[in-house]
């Protein structure tokens, strides 16, 4: 069910309203008294329920930074576990609510939904309220938003939170609309200047031609399992974003514009997809499988495209040296990952070494695409909540994340020989993963960083 290859069913939960068979009615009792946050909670709750009704796995909150929000999350029966975008940011404190949940069954669907509703209730009650409180401030406290977002952002609030976390939108609420409008206009002006000119075949340099060709080869091969990305308008958007990103000129200093250090590099096409999915979720309803942009105006699509472009710029600004000549940033992160694995689980490190396996042979792509290719798409979006919350610390945090990801299978890895190792690691078995699994990776990464912090020598 949560297999990413099968069209990323978990993405249904992005805004699962249309995907849920029948309406969810919650009893007064089940809803509880939540005071100020009640209203927004209900909508969120229903969407989340719809998501879970599609058989997706509630989060256990194991990767949570704020442990205060987690009480004993009792493990659920296996069949109830599947990944979910919809349950993002939820901390399932279902343990104590299962009995109560059983009482709700008559109101919702038989059996399993009852339990899930209870979990979502707890998610909506605290976390969404916290998010809403933060986002409701005149000037959003970014540090607090980072802290909260680190453990996952509720799907409906994700677009706004991502924009804020990336610094695309200012924390000051009053200025947001104006800046958003300006940035979107700015992008719209770039389209004819860069893309249209190149696409028309006029005045192209060899470099521009090469960039356009490379982008054109890669766009149709972007997220092949997700039909949404293969609609003609979406393909066009992706092509423009990537091409313009690749050849744009950026200010070096006053009046001097230069090309950025790296042009378009394969894999950057993957990095746009979470932005596209999340920003589009503000306009399209129902499961992502059924998304069509046919009903969207050109204006709206261009706005989404502009947001994706600027957010991609912001993200890549922090990891530019991943894509410059010889990709030193990636090599460094791979090296750090290797050092961390040696530090944390020496036997695994020496086994890999004994088998002649080099980290660069499998971890290169992990860094290049920020693990997007290694986990089902809905989980990648969850992963990005944490990445974006890390902000300028992302580069450093990535090595910890990769080490934790690798060591998810430490016992198995030690049994494998070179060839089995490389086959295993180039397609790690994450198709059945849920948020709980990715959050476990993130929380281990967090712990390791905390324990190594200050001990800078561990990388030497």
């Amino acid at each position: 069910m949560s297999d990413g290859a099968a069209g990323f069913p978990g993405v249904r939960s992005l805004f699962g309203r249309g995907g849920f068979p029948g309406t969810v009615k919650l009893s007064r009792k089940a809803r509880g008294a939540e005071g100020e946050a009640q209203q927004p909670d209900d909508a969120e709750l229903q969407r989340g329920v719809a998501a879970l009704a599609l058989g997706e796995r509630p989060s256990s909150g194991s990767g949570r930074r704020q442990m205060e929000a987690v009480s004993s999350s009792s493990p659920l029966p296996q069949q109830q576990q599947a990944s979910s975008l919809g349950a993002s940011g939820s901390s399932s404190r279902s343990g104590s609510s299962q009995d109560e949940a059983a009482g709700q069954q008559q109101h919702v669907q038989p059996e399993r939904e009852g339990v899930q509703v209870a979990m979502l209730r707890s998610m909506s009650n605290t976390r969404i309220a916290k998010f809403n409180r933060l986002l409701g401030e005149q000037v959003v406290e970014l540090d607090a938003l980072r802290e909260l977002s680190w453990s996952g952002i509720p799907p409906t609030l994700r677009p706004t939170c991502w924009r804020l976390l990336l610094g695309y939108l200012p924390p000051n609420r009053e200025r947001r609309e104006q800046i958003l409008a300006r940035k979107r206009r700015e992008y719209r002006d770039m389209v004819p200047d860069y893309y249209d000119l190149a696409a028309s075949g006029a005045e192209q340099s060899g470099e521009e031609l090469g960039a356009l060709r490379q982008v054109a080869v890669d766009v149709p091969r972007t997220a092949p399992g997700v039909p949404f990305f293969h609609q003609p308008q979406v393909q066009k958007s992706l092509e423009r974003i990537l091409y313009i990103w690749g050849i744009r000129r950026v200010p070096l200093c006053w009046l001097i514009l230069v090309h950025p250090a790296s042009g378009y590099v394969q894999g950057i096409n993957d990095l746009v997809t979470p932005f596209m999915a999340v920003f589009m979720s503000e306009h399209l309803q129902g499961p992502m499988d059924g998304w069509s942009v046919d009903g969207c105006s050109e204006e709206l699509l261009l706005d989404v495209e502009a947001d994706c472009y600027w957010c991609l710029c912001k993200l890549l600004d922090g990891i530019q040296d991943h894509y410059t000549y010889a990709q030193p940033g990636i090599q460094r992160t791979v090296f750090h990952t290797q050092e961390l694995v040696r530090r944390v689980e020496e036997p695994v490190a020496s086994h890999l070494e004994k088998e002649g396996l080099q980290f660069i042979q499998f971890a290169f792509r992990w860094v290049n695409c920020l693990l997007l290719r290694e986990v089902p798409f809905p989980l990648a979006v969850r992963l990005w909540d944490t990445y974006l919350a890390e902000g300028s610390q992302l580069k450093e945090f990535l090595a910890y994340t990769l080490a934790a990801f690798l060591l998810s299978w430490s016992a198995q890895l030690r049994q494998l020989e070179f060839q089995e190792l490389i086959m295993f690691l180039q397609k790690p078995p994450t198709s059945a993963w849920g948020e709980k699994d990715i959050e476990l990776v993130l929380s281990r990464a967090y712990m390791w960083r905390a324990s190594f912090q200050g001990a800078a020598s561990h990388f030497s």
Partner: protein, 221 residues
């Protein structure tokens, strides 16, 4: 050797082969067609390198294990993928018969092979996507000519319909196997007992003075 049941780990020769060529020419699909008989219309661009293996039986009964490294096509990845030429004894240099630009890059790829790979590596030029006949931009003759000039093996393939894919890999493997056998026999002249085929390591074909036999161009059948 006939009748001997052989496991995955039981082989007579291990050889490392690299797949190179511009991005989007179908390297990954050639590999998945050869190793798993699979084809994906839109397979994700390869990042870094990907690895696959396949065992082949040779005419003399030897079992050869091909370790194939599929590389990313984009220029930017060259600095990284160069490292993967090390120890490779064969290469399939792929272009797309429907995009002339990818054919023009052959010279550049050959330069790179000369710089980073063993001089007597067995190289096969592969013109892929013959199923798209109506979009063809590179003729068979053009492919044959450059292969002849550069001393490369040559085949045209279609990863989509599967034609010639297995032949291309098998041809390279057979060539390498032949060279290794010949060399082994030569080195054993005067020795009483023939040494067994080396196992478990890739065999670099280092003696540069020995030119590969039968490096003729050949057209697709």
């Amino acid at each position: 050797m006939a009748g001997r049941s052989r496991s995955d780990d039981d082989y007579d020769l291990l050889m490392k082969v690299v797949l190179i060529g511009d991005s989007g020419v179908g390297k990954t699909n050639c590999l998945s067609r050869f190793c798993r008989n699979e084809f994906q219309t839109n397979s994700k661009p390869t990042i870094g390198v990907e690895f696959a293996t396949k065992q082949l039986s040779m005419d003399n009964g030897d079992l050869v294990k091909c370790q194939i490294w599929d590389t990313a096509g984009q220029e930017r990845y060259r600095a990284i993928t160069n490292a993967y030429y090390r120890g490779a004894v064969g290469a399939l240099l792929v272009y797309d018969v429907t995009r002339h630009k990818t054919f023009e890059s052959i010279e550049r790829w050959l330069r790179e092979l000369r710089e980073h790979a063993s001089a007597d590596m067995v190289v096969m030029l592969v013109g892929n996507k013959t199923d798209l006949q109506e979009q063809r931009e590179v003729s068979v003759q053009d492919g044959q000519d450059i292969a002849k000039r550069e001393g490369l093996l040559f085949l045209e393939t279609s990863a989509l319909d599967g034609s010639n894919v297995e032949e291309a890999f098998t041809r390279v493997a057979t060539e390498i196997h032949g060279i290794v056998r010949k060399r082994r026999l030569e080195s054993q002249q005067g020795e009483e007992e023939p040494a067994p085929m080396p196992r478990g390591i890739s065999i670099p074909i280092t003696a540069a003075q020995e030119q590969q036999p039968a490096q003729q161009s050949r057209c697709c059948s």
